[in-house]
Symmetry: C2
């Protein structure tokens, strides 16, 4: 067994991922990372190491004309040859705003629809330590706080609100669009089984060992993208300081994830509604009070009725509402509470 | 009052630093940072905002020949003109090993001796947000773990175990030399009252506003030093990504400092392998680092590769093996790790 496949099954077991007849959807762009993940899972399935129904899912963004279609064709061929189920989605049109962000949203919505259709227990993506290092740096540079330094998680429950890496590769499962939040109520895992151990050269090496070509996204060379500049300019410079910089940054993100309960919810100016919904019900009020105290400089004039009004705001389900408080107000908008002084 | 002086007194009060007749020793190299700190404290003393006995302390490293002597002469003139007490120390000879490290040790020993002599309640140094950002990056790049991302503290008790910024400007109070550890038993503060708010251009600006020249250390241009490469090459690149990168990195370090302490169950001399095997895989490294930090007194010179070597020892299954570390070694024997100094 190739060491890449052995490492994958070890990680798969460590993360206690599905292995008992469940369906797993693998997002496959056609690049080395996702192709290696798909083929290694296929090998594990063929050799009966994993009992899963493997479903590849390719989303054609139609962003790069014939190149995009060639990617799709490549993934079709790859899966046909290996008798792997494939679901293909197509971008209809791009919404306004950040193209990268919209493209990612559309892709993840497609992955979730595919998983819904096949009743998959998990969606797997091919993010590597390189992606983790890049995400860490992007978050660090834009000052996204302690949360951002945690980078991506190897396993998340779909519906969790993702860490704040807006311009990163971090998927946003519960996206809000003009039709309101897209919610997934089933307990489906979003997993990145290459994240903690595989580098890009490992995924490329495994593809080479199989004699499999992979597609190369020319957008990976476009330094108009912040992530590409980080990969092409910043990381090589950091590599001069420390040749193991990818491992170092990725393991720093893992260390950050291992910290006990971060008080991140109440340190920033904004308070995430999803953070509040996840904590114990009786702690919500205390968390709100502590956050308000930091925003206002004190809890002066704050009464229980004020805290309770903010709690109602949190649990109301509606968006864009306001609670007036002594000296200021709390507004709920886009899943966040914001405090403003009068 | 100049805004620099106003910011300094605000921070001085926030940190509840001495202001009631105590002596304060200020380390003065002659550069803009330390000169601005000295002169602003002198202004606060003259205007009766602070009731302190101000003692400047200059250490002549004799590393740069006539330049070093000119620095000393500059500080003598500056303090004589303003009737500020001055204590000058001279490097005898440099020990073996890292010159930067030895120079810093000698300087801090001198600062402590001076403080001891005048019965000072605090030693103040002119570290700025720029230094904090550089320290943060140095620690991040060498993979110094969560501790390192906390950077420097604005206030420490002399004798505290310093954070691990081996090749940084982080002073080591409890230095070990050939005569054994240098310990300071009195409760004296080591303070950096510019750290959280002042940038280098602020210290230079204040000096300019007073018409005071300051000295410029040519070693600040020598890219043989890692810190200089970080300042001259890495930070300008990061500045292209985020023009407020200094503030961003410095405030990230502050955020990290505000996190609750890591669980520290591993205070004993021995670490049970079985305990390590039971905890989450990604927490093992941090547990080992934290344990080693306690055994060695600091994480100085500890790199990711050292931690990983000890991890391999833990998971190897074999018994009785040894990992060599800077200054000591870890031995696995009978299911336990033991650390011994050289």
């Amino acid at each position: 067994m190739h060491s890449f496949v052995r490492s994958l099954i070890t990680e798969w077991r460590r993360l206690t991922l599905p292995c008992d007849g469940e369906a797993v959807v693998v997002g496959v762009s056609g690049g080395a990372d996702s192709v290696s993940l798909l083929l290694a899972l296929d090998e594990l399935r063929q050799t009966k190491k994993l009992d899963i129904r493997l479903v590849a899912a390719h989303f054609n963004h139609h962003l790069r004309g014939p190149e995009s279609d060639a990617d799709e064709e490549f993934v079709r061929q790859l899966t046909v040859e290996r008798k792997i189920e494939l679901s293909v989605g197509h971008a209809k049109q791009l919404g306004p705003g950040n193209t990268e962000q919209n493209a990612r949203n559309a892709r993840y919505q497609f992955l979730h629809r595919t998983a819904e259709n096949v009743g998959a227990a998990a969606i797997a993506t091919g993010h590597t330590m390189n992606d983790q290092a890049e995400t860490f740096l992007m978050n660090l540079i834009r000052g996204s706080g302690v949360d951002g330094l945690c980078g991506m998680r190897a396993v998340r429950l779909a519906g969790d609100v993702p860490p704040p890496s807006a311009d990163g590769c971090e998927p946003h499962d519960a996206e809000e669009d003009e039709h309101g939040p897209l919610l997934f109520t089933t307990s489906r895992l979003l997993v990145r089984p290459l994240l903690t151990w595989a580098k890009r050269r490992d995924t490329e090496g495994y593809c080479h060992s199989l004699g499999v070509e992979y597609r190369y996204d020319t957008m990976n060379e476009d330094t108009a993208f912040r992530r590409v500049r980080i990969r092409k300019i910043l990381l090589p410079l950091l590599h001069d300081f420390n040749p193991r910089i990818i491992e170092t940054l990725a393991s720093t993100a893992m260390l950050m994830q291992s910290l006990p309960d971060l008080p991140s919810a109440n340190t920033g100016r904004e308070l995430k509604v999803s953070d509040l919904v996840e904590i114990e019900r009786h702690q919500v009020g205390e968390t709100i009070r502590s956050w308000l105290s930091k925003q206002r400089g004190s809890t002066r004039s704050l009464q229980l009725k004020h805290i309770e009004a903010v709690e109602r705001l949190v649990f109301s389900g509606k968006s864009g509402r306001v609670v007036e408080l002594p000296g200021g107000r709390v507004t709920k908008s886009k899943g966040r509470l914001v405090y403003d002084n009068n």
